[in-house]
């Protein structure tokens, strides 16, 4: 192995030696930069260079060029035929000025661009919603045109496959509520109300919300990643050129599948949550399952259940449309797939919670 490249100055003479290939010229670059030039003519002696590649040759020729621009005469001495060939190759490219970089903008311009982008983003999302609403209505008129086999596959992936995780988490939430509530209720001798607590909290709020959040993380992100990757590989464009609208093929089956599956998952989460509450109540309060269910029947009305399950299709529509929309926003690169997937999950969870709050206000105003 040759020694790393070195450069040192002695008056008007600059000596270079060692291995001037890309992996070994870093030190020489710093040394050349720190050389204080003596006045007068400069000679760069490269006779000690043992190996050189185009990076090393470029370093030498750009240094000479920089020194020349300070009104010095710079000459190379001891150049081998190989070095001269490399210099010629570099000279033929006629490099001038700085390498190009993408245009950057000032603070104000960036602010303006960002605001404009944010505004058009909102508009684009609205128009996307309009688009899928229109397509859904059209397809509802001719249901045979919906890709039913795709709907079934999507339903399996987004619904059936999510049963274990949704069930487990709902059960645990039921346990936690029963425990936290039970600790307080026992002190007042009101242990029996634990069924009211678990029943109302689970059915009205927690089961729909938890299920929607899990599905947003699990399925919404998958929708974005799938459509996004198809954007990168121009598969979406290929569909368009075949006269197939990407919305029909990619969005509607996902949307319909989720709108059906999310309420069903919510019912399952209701059951598992109640089961968790019952398990906790029987172990902490010695309350039999029979008692729990009796109490539940007195305190929880059918409409509490319906309020919870009724929110689910709305959440499903939010998750599917945000997920697909962010997928179509992907531009060109793998990085962009990652960015839009993150955005998709954050936005759909955000929207789900906001809409849930709106539901609460409306229901309380309507006294449901």
């Amino acid at each position: 192995m040759a020694r790393p490249a070195k450069a040192h100055a002695d008056g008007g003479l600059v000596f270079c030696d060692g291995d001037w290939s890309a992996l070994h010229v870093a030190t020489a670059e710093r040394q050349l930069k720190s050389i204080r030039l003596a006045p007068g003519e400069i000679k760069i002696d490269v006779s000690g260079v043992e190996r050189i590649d185009s990076s090393g040759a470029w370093l030498l020729s750009r240094t000479a060029r920089q020194w020349r621009s300070k009104a010095r005469t710079v000459d190379f001495v001891g150049t081998s035929e190989h070095i001269r060939q490399l210099f010629r190759l570099i000279a033929e490219q006629g490099i001038e000025g700085e390498p190009p970089r993408p245009a950057t903008h000032g603070f104000l311009e960036n602010l303006g661009r960002d605001s404009l982008n944010a505004a058009t983003e909102q508009l684009a999302f609205l128009s996307f919603i309009g688009n899928i609403t229109f397509s859904s209505l059209r397809i509802l008129l001719t249901p045979a045109r919906l890709r039913w086999s795709q709907v079934v596959t999507d339903a399996e992936e987004s619904g059936f496959d999510a049963l274990p995780i949704v069930g487990l988490l709902a059960f645990l939430i039921g346990v936690v509520i029963a425990y936290q509530g039970g600790v307080v209720l026992i002190q007042y001798g009101a242990g029996i109300f634990i069924a009211d607590l678990v029943g109302l909290a689970m059915l009205r709020e927690l089961a729909p919300l938890i299920t929607a959040i899990i599905v947003a993380g699990r399925t919404g992100s998958a929708y974005t990643a799938q459509i996004g990757t198809m954007m990168v590989t121009e598969e979406v464009d290929a569909l368009r050129t075949m006269g197939i609208t990407p919305i029909d093929l990619l969005v509607l089956p996902k949307l319909f599948a989720l709108v059906v599956m999310l309420p069903l998952l919510t019912v399952f989460a209701d059951l598992m949550g109640l089961l968790g509450g019952m398990a906790m109540a029987s172990s902490m309060l010695d309350m039999s399952f029979q008692n729990f269910v009796d109490r539940l029947g007195q305190s929880v009305r059918l409409q509490d259940f319906l309020v919870g399950v009724g929110k689910a299709p709305v959440f499903a529509a939010i998750i599917a449309s945000v997920g697909c929309y962010q997928g179509f926003r992907v531009t060109g690169s793998a990085e962009s797939v990652g960015k839009q997937t993150t955005l998709s999950v954050v936005q759909s969870i955000f929207l789900v919670i906001v809409v849930d709050a709106v539901f609460s206000i409306v229901f309380s105003a309507l006294d449901i």
């Binding site: 590649d53 185009s54 470029w58 490099i95 390498p99 190009p100 245009a103 793998a334």
Partner: protein, 263 residues
């Protein structure tokens, strides 16, 4: 090419199997330092797969691959790292990183493996881009703003970033207009001369086979059907080989080559 030149890549009895599908059944070949070896063969004959085995992206099912004197079938990923720095690879469809500009893409190997200043890296990257025949302003573009041919050139520039000893090119001239393809052939010859590169390339381009390849290996039927210089192969009477090199396209390229030689 001298018969006793150093052997930089050697495949011995390589067998490749994807599940049920047998792609290579006992392939042995050697690449000598300083030569341009072209691998040809029909679509799906396993050229890209063979290239992937040479650049250590894929383990052959059986047999051994030696690169720059190292048996890479037995080596661990960490042991391979220093070796990988000595090769440049250009993929069939570019494989540029979408999140970086063309200039940044080209500078990636330099940025990762050297301690050069950012300015110098950008300048060297720009030099490589110009070398492959791209316009000076292309460096600022993003990969998805490039045409297919530009993407090929940018990928070649990135493969050349560290001036590798060994360069692997998967179909460098496909998707280029004829003038650019000729330019690329010239470039490959020039790089071979100047930088002492050894080049292994997959190509279908008869013209570049005649112009740049020192030796040609023809894959087919899971084996090597023939190997030798273009002149030798095109005169071969073995059925499989003759067919490949005597189609109408091949004949035009051969005629042009011979005329050029006699002028």
């Amino acid at each position: 090419m001298a018969e006793n030149a150093e052997i930089v890549v050697e495949l011995r009895d390589v067998v490749t199997r994807f599940d049920e599908k047998l792609v290579h059944d006992g392939i042995s070949l050697q690449v000598r330092r300083g030569e341009v070896l072209a691998v040809v063969g029909g679509s799906g004959s396993g050229k890209s797969t063979l290239l992937r085995e040479m650049v250590m992206l894929l383990q052959p099912t059986a047999g051994s691959v030696t690169v720059l004197g190292r048996d890479v079938t037995a080596a661990s990923e960490i042991e391979l790292l220093p070796l990988r720095r000595r090769l440049g690879v250009m993929f069939q469809d570019g494989a540029l990183f979408g999140g970086q500009t063309v200039l940044e893409n080209t500078g990636v190997p330099l940025r990762e493996h050297t301690e050069l200043s950012g300015d110098l890296i950008d300048e060297i990257a720009q030099l490589k881009l110009l070398l492959t025949g791209l316009e000076p302003s292309v460096g600022a573009l993003w990969p998805n703003q490039l045409s297919g041919g530009m993407r090929k050139r940018a990928a070649l520039a990135r493969a050349l970033a560290l001036d590798p000893e060994l360069l692997f090119l998967d179909e460098p001239s496909s998707g280029l207009d004829p003038i650019s393809a000729d330019g690329l052939d010239d470039l490959i010859l020039q790089l071979k001369e100047l930088l002492g590169l050894t080049i292994v390339m997959v190509t279908h381009d008869m013209d570049s086979l005649w112009r740049v390849a020192d030796r040609v290996v023809l894959l087919g039927d899971k084996r090597i059907l023939g190997a030798g210089t273009m002149t030798e192969l095109s005169r071969s009477v073995t059925p499989g080989i003759g067919k490949f090199f005597s189609g109408p396209r091949a004949r035009v390229a051969a005629r042009e080559h011979n005329q050029g030689a006699s002028l």
